[in-house]
Subunit: 618 residues, 2 copies
Amino acid sequence: MESTGFGRLKRALFGAPIASKHAHQERLRKRVALPVFASDALSSVAYATEEIMLALGMTALGGGVALYPKTFDFAIAIAVLIAIVSISYFQTIHAYPEGGGSYTVAKSNLGPFPGEIAGASLLIDYILTVAVSVSAGVLAVISMAPATQPYMIHIGLGAVALLSIANLRGARESGALFSIPTYLFIASFITLIIVGFFVPGRPIPPEMVQAREDHTGTIGLLLMLKAFSSGCTALTGIEAISNGTTAFREPVAKNASMTLAIMAALLAVMFGGASLIAEKFHVAPMSVSEPGYMTVTSQLADAVFRTQSSGFEFMFFVIQVATAAILFMAANTAYADFPRLASMIAKDGYLPRQLASVGDRLVFQNGIILLSIVAGLLIVVFKGDTHRLVPLYAIGVFTSFTLSQFGMVVYLKRHRRTGALLISLLGGIITSVVLVVIAFSKWSAGAYIVPFAVGAMLILMTAIKRHYRYLAQELTLSSQDKLAPVESTVLLLVPRVHRGILQAIGYAKSMARDCRAVHVTLDSKNVDEIKKQWNEFGADIPLVILESPYRSLIEPIIEYIDQTIEEEPNSMITVIVPQAVPKKWYHGLLHNNAAVLLKMSLGSRRNVVITNVRYFLK
Amino acid sequence: MESTGFGRLKRALFGAPIASKHAHQERLRKRVALPVFASDALSSVAYATEEIMLALGMTALGGGVALYPKTFDFAIAIAVLIAIVSISYFQTIHAYPEGGGSYTVAKSNLGPFPGEIAGASLLIDYILTVAVSVSAGVLAVISMAPATQPYMIHIGLGAVALLSIANLRGARESGALFSIPTYLFIASFITLIIVGFFVPGRPIPPEMVQAREDHTGTIGLLLMLKAFSSGCTALTGIEAISNGTTAFREPVAKNASMTLAIMAALLAVMFGGASLIAEKFHVAPMSVSEPGYMTVTSQLADAVFRTQSSGFEFMFFVIQVATAAILFMAANTAYADFPRLASMIAKDGYLPRQLASVGDRLVFQNGIILLSIVAGLLIVVFKGDTHRLVPLYAIGVFTSFTLSQFGMVVYLKRHRRTGALLISLLGGIITSVVLVVIAFSKWSAGAYIVPFAVGAMLILMTAIKRHYRYLAQELTLSSQDKLAPVESTVLLLVPRVHRGILQAIGYAKSMARDCRAVHVTLDSKNVDEIKKQWNEFGADIPLVILESPYRSLIEPIIEYIDQTIEEEPNSMITVIVPQAVPKKWYHGLLHNNAAVLLKMSLGSRRNVVITNVRYFLK
């Protein structure tokens, strides 16, 4: 009903419908694909350094403070991990240019069950991507404007709502919308690192001096693991490109892997650089509930641009705005990938089939709305605290990393590419160790939720698959199945004799020889008039008048259908219901939709078909 | 879908569907009709006396208190009014045994516009009946159990919810359910009056003695009018029987008017008696917000059964329980009449047509749900204070009384029955004076809301009528309108070739010579398999394969429909969509409902019909 008021409202909110023939334009150029797919990975720079420092600070304040200078060491280790994982995904993109990332790789090389696990982990990760990125974006906002601190959750939910609307409008428009913040973030962040590198550092605050003198200089294994696994959050989002290759232009593999390489390099440089200057300026992470909370990134920008250099105060705000913006855009990565992945899983029968046709706006829209609702709930439940959401996030991400890389090991073994195989094997071993470390060190911090959620999804997916498998078996045709010739009886509902039903009369006559018009009378006074008019315009179709002393429209028809079934047990009975299509949608409230009521009342009556023949009102 | 889980839940809540052939059993015997239709009128006894006293107490406390002994005088005047109005309705029932009360009478004798006003007033009154009666019922509860006073609104909303469910189960069951409380109320209230008449009265409280001595003994005209109009609330509900005569058994007029006579007599006796003993026991109304609030009725029961006679304390609780119960049942009167009246108005084209077929459970249920929601809102907004709701209530009631009686004057004039005419004329004059008095004296107390609500409804009803009138004119057939022969093209959607679509294949073949099977492929790998199966089972219908590179199921079909329209501009195109009907309703979530999506996407394409052929899963 595109011409209705509702249609207009929908178009205003979600954009004009995309005709299929124009759909290829929805495929993304590299320079648009980078912001769409890389914003997730790059944006983790905004909080990964802070996560390492929070882990290092978990011991007694003095020791924690003293350990902050180790941050860069962990950053180096994680940059190496980034390189390994990226190379593995580089191989994946070339092996699977049709997209799918961890899900496809795990499924086709390790088997359906590992595939299911990868799929479930990824779907949950996309939800967490939205929650984590939006929360971190809100922290950037409150660092810049402390007065907004009490409204953290509201701002977060508002951002989720805006993202939904933007995405409901379609992928390409999102790409264009999101390019500027991503490039601004990259430029301003690299400026921060360079300027931070050259301006003089801040003196060490007295409490840090004291703490360092007190500290013995060693660092426990457990603490090391925790700090390392905390920093691994920098890797989240790295898989987005390999999942979403179908959105790239031809040649897909080349474009996607180029984008991946640029992204990984930027990620390593920005994350390492931030950790380096964090040491130089002796910043320390704060608790979200502290008054005057500032993220580590904004403390850095504050130190570099406001304390140590003058005339560049505006750069503090540029960094904050860009950080907040890229984080909100990062959430968008999930919006781009979630429906695509769900569609792939649905095609394999593990999710409802209709999700497969993601090209249907309604299906696509439902996925986006589902994603927004769950992410919004997470923000509310975790009060928008990124630090509490991150452990959940990392578990799922590293599960799919590990499955993907071991999948690539099997793939490369089959293709006898030993060199490449060793890289994927190394990556798989490292990411699985990291996974164990994260699970172990973050279990009590909420990481346990993810295995339960993945487990629940696995049960659901398996049940769905079982239903479809049962159906396929049940409905399989054998050579005994024969086509029976169908006799047709048509009942044409005639509420009144008017111009709108002329076409329905012709249609009914064309359908069957046994054709009857049926009029339900709520008021017997009108019967004679109806009969007279029918004689004139009814094309010799016999008219059946059904009395309805208790003013039901539907029951007399159902009774007459039952009677007809008894008379003609082998006939298909088609009930034709003329339906008005009004100009204004709210006029529809003034018209019966008897077809819907009839369908609901049909129950298990077989051989009955309800059909609307529409007529258009001026 | 009666065999589904949802169907079972619905049946558990709302009762088994009523087959039409059993529907006449839904008509009520007199002894069941009395509680259903008279509970409204009788229950007003529970608060009408209190309303008079509150009006008399509105002046300075001393004067107010001193005026309480006038209560009975007003009660007498109102009892006379009850008699006049009842006789007028007695005449109405005989003139219009097919029901309709004020709406029918005003419409057919005074014209459509007065009819609309009466209809709108009555619909609003039914909503207010629910709100007022439930609120008053809650006051009876808190009088008996003061600890529940803070939960007034919650109890009220709970009662509304219970009433909805009871009524969604059907009229007869309500009658049976509601008889006991009504008869218990009548019996216990008459016992109260008789016992109260014979036991010794209470001494006058000292503050009342003082007040009486101070009082000059005169009563101002304004106060008199206010007290009188407050007491008129006793008349609310008296019209219910004449509106609902269709629910009575044959002979309708005799049964309905007998019930009316019994009701009016009981009403006058109970109201007058209560006012009489209220004087004798010197009770004074309290404010709802006062701690230890008791209604006047419960103060009476307290005085008669707990203070002045011993061993009958249980009767206090019997009266309270019966009062609360009949008031909740009174709300039920509205539930019985609201959908009936809406149906009558809809038949005349002033409300959406589908409301006319009130015999359809869905339509009936929507009316009940609407009524409950609006009444619940009123209870929340007016904080469950009966005294604040009553002014609104009385305005609408007396508007419809007045219109009904003047309508009867016209009717009786036409039938040259002068004696009867004079009664109706007297009634009409008195009720219109009362209406003016209520509007005048209660305007600022909220009575102004009702004219605005009625006005809004009139605008809506007029717009609806105009739409229907326009439609009728637009769609009227003339001798130029000719039936064109219809050529038929059938497109059968084939998602997969399985046993479920066999019937659809036969059906498609029976419908037209130009018949094509259409398969949308989301994955071109499956195409060969589909083609092979179709060759075996497709009954020689040509198979069209539609590619969908962007994974839309709907768009390729719509495009193909457009192409077919171009090829065959004069053909009706029927798209047959096989649809699975699963055993468990939630399995439905796993099946496409392409027909619905197609219908939504059809827009203004003419000559296209979408049809579901269902198949049933074991």
